[in-house]
Amino acid sequence: MLKNITIGQYFPGNTVIHKLDPRIKIIITLLFIISLFIIDNFLPYLFVSIFIFTSIFISKVPFKFILKGLKPLFFIILITFIINVFMTKGEILFEIGPLDVTKEGLKLATFMALRLIFLIIGTSLLTLTTSPISLTDGIERLLNPFKRIGVPAHELAMMMTIALRFIPTLLEETDKIMKAQMARGADFESGNVLKRAKSLVPLLVPLFISAFRRADELALAMEARCYRGGENRTRMKQLILSRRDYIALGISILLLGLIIVDRLL
């Protein structure tokens, strides 16, 4: 039931993609997302596909694994597609009852669906090839320049690390509590919406209690080791840009450049 959640999951490996500096990977992912949203033609999609599929290939993450991340969002993609097909005005291709299917609508819908799919694939690849620790490290470093205008970079990164760290724990805990209540005859799967919502009480109450207990324990453990965020905190792993990081960034900027050029021409 909870097994399809791959967001935030790390797929360990030792490839170039895994070893890239997290800052570079985040920047490249952002560039990738920006290019996705300025694309309005099929040719650049070819570039983007080649780029992302090559990256997946190099990273040795099984494609199945990435598709699993798409599954829970399948309906959102489908609904976006349908709405776009029917809600766009233009040259009418054919009609289904009172609804018109237009050429523009079909094109826009396909682009929107592709955008979403690529967006998910791209971000999944980022989280699958970057351990949560280095991911938050990267975010913290990228946010550092904004500290001057009052962005609490370190605190934000710390919160994210902790949240990511506890996703698997909470999933495990949910599984355990669910099983324990099922052993007492609880039924989480049948009945109407109201009944199902009610059946969640025996799951959610213990889950919240345990989450608060864990938060409490963690705070205490951090306090006991004199945790102080922010200033003068050194780190075990220094982020240092190497040649491969510059190369990767260069390739990505080239890609985005091509797409912008294509758009302008």
Binding site: F11, K179, A183, R184, G185
Partner: protein, 287 residues
């Protein structure tokens, strides 16, 4: 046979980098009214095994047969099975959720669809079975109890379903000696008074030696030794290789024997050891 497991294999997260074979071709039989101790190094598959016994997880391959019914088959009535086989998880107090102890213990019986009077009767019995005072406690919140009391309420929640088989996963973990002894005493009583079939998972060789009729030793997902406590604990070296041990008093008697005293080598409880040492002393005195 009330429980029969045939060729049971379970693989977690198959076809992924996190694939683990938690059970590997497990075969075992447990008779009605038996008190079985399940031991094994951490990660040996004990918890995985017992969750199969009431259909909470499905075998990757193999069969689990409870009272003649194959519960791993499609369309098995799981509610029936879960009533028949009560499972108390590790740290069961973490699953308490109701406002009052009464309501929490009643959760299982209500899920079984019992009448109000029946629920009432069972809740009262169950709370008293675990040694708590029903009238004093029924309207209190489960969250204001001590750790040991909470755990007993949680166990009562399973007993209220009146299972024929009671499985407990390390029921004494994290309790003080007094709390531990009390819980074990109640479990023993359930076995003696109601002839309940009991499976106890424990890391304490002393508790196992004192209570059970039969020991099942798990190692790396397989059943490696099955037998009477006296016979199993004779194999101290073998058990140590599996990351386990024997009761302290068994080590002690072994040492005595090594030093040339004529004592039996199948002593597993302190009481037996006392008898044996007294016998030895008397024997020496007479000679």
């Amino acid at each position: 046979m009330i429980i029969k497991v045939e060729g049971l294999t379970h693989i977690y997260n198959p076809n992924s980098p996190f694939e683990t074979k938690a059970l590997d071709n497990v075969n075992l039989e447990i008779a009605k009214g038996e008190f079985v101790g399940l031991i094994g190094h951490t990660g040996s598959g004990k918890s995985t095994l017992i969750q199969h016994l009431n259909g909470l997880i499905k075998p990757t391959s193999g069969k689990v047969i409870i009272d003649g019914v194959d519960i791993s088959a499609e369309g098995a009535n799981l509610k029936d099975i879960r009533q028949k086989v009560g499972l108390v998880f590790q740290y069961p107090e973490h699953q308490l959720f109701e406002e009052t102890i009464y309501k929490d213990v009643a959760f299982g019986p209500i899920n079984l669809g019992l009448s109000e009077e029946e629920v009432d009767k069972r809740v009262k019995e169950a709370i008293e079975l675990v040694g708590l005072n029903y009238d004093k406690i029924k309207n209190r919140s489960p969250f204001e109890l001590s750790g040991g009391q909470k755990r007993r309420v949680a166990i009562a929640g399973v007993l209220a379903m009146e299972p024929e088989v009671l499985i407990l996963d390390e029921p004494t973990a994290g309790l003080d000696p007094k709390g531990r002894d009390e819980i074990l005493k109640q479990i023993k009583k359930l076995h003696q008074d109601f002839n309940m079939t009991i499976i106890l998972v424990s890391h304490s060789m002393e508790d196992i030696a004192r209570l059970v009729d039969k020991i099942i030793v798990m190692h790396k997902g397989r059943v490696s030794i099955v037998g009477k406590p006296k016979d199993v604990f004779k194999k101290a070296d073998e058990l140590e290789e599996l990351g386990l041990g024997v009761p302290q008093v068994t080590y002690f008697m072994r040492e005595l024997k090594k030093r040339g005293k004529k004592v039996r080598d199948d002593i597993i409880t302190v009481e037996d050891a006392k008898e044996e040492i007294l016998r030895l002393l008397r024997g020496n005195g007479n000679a």
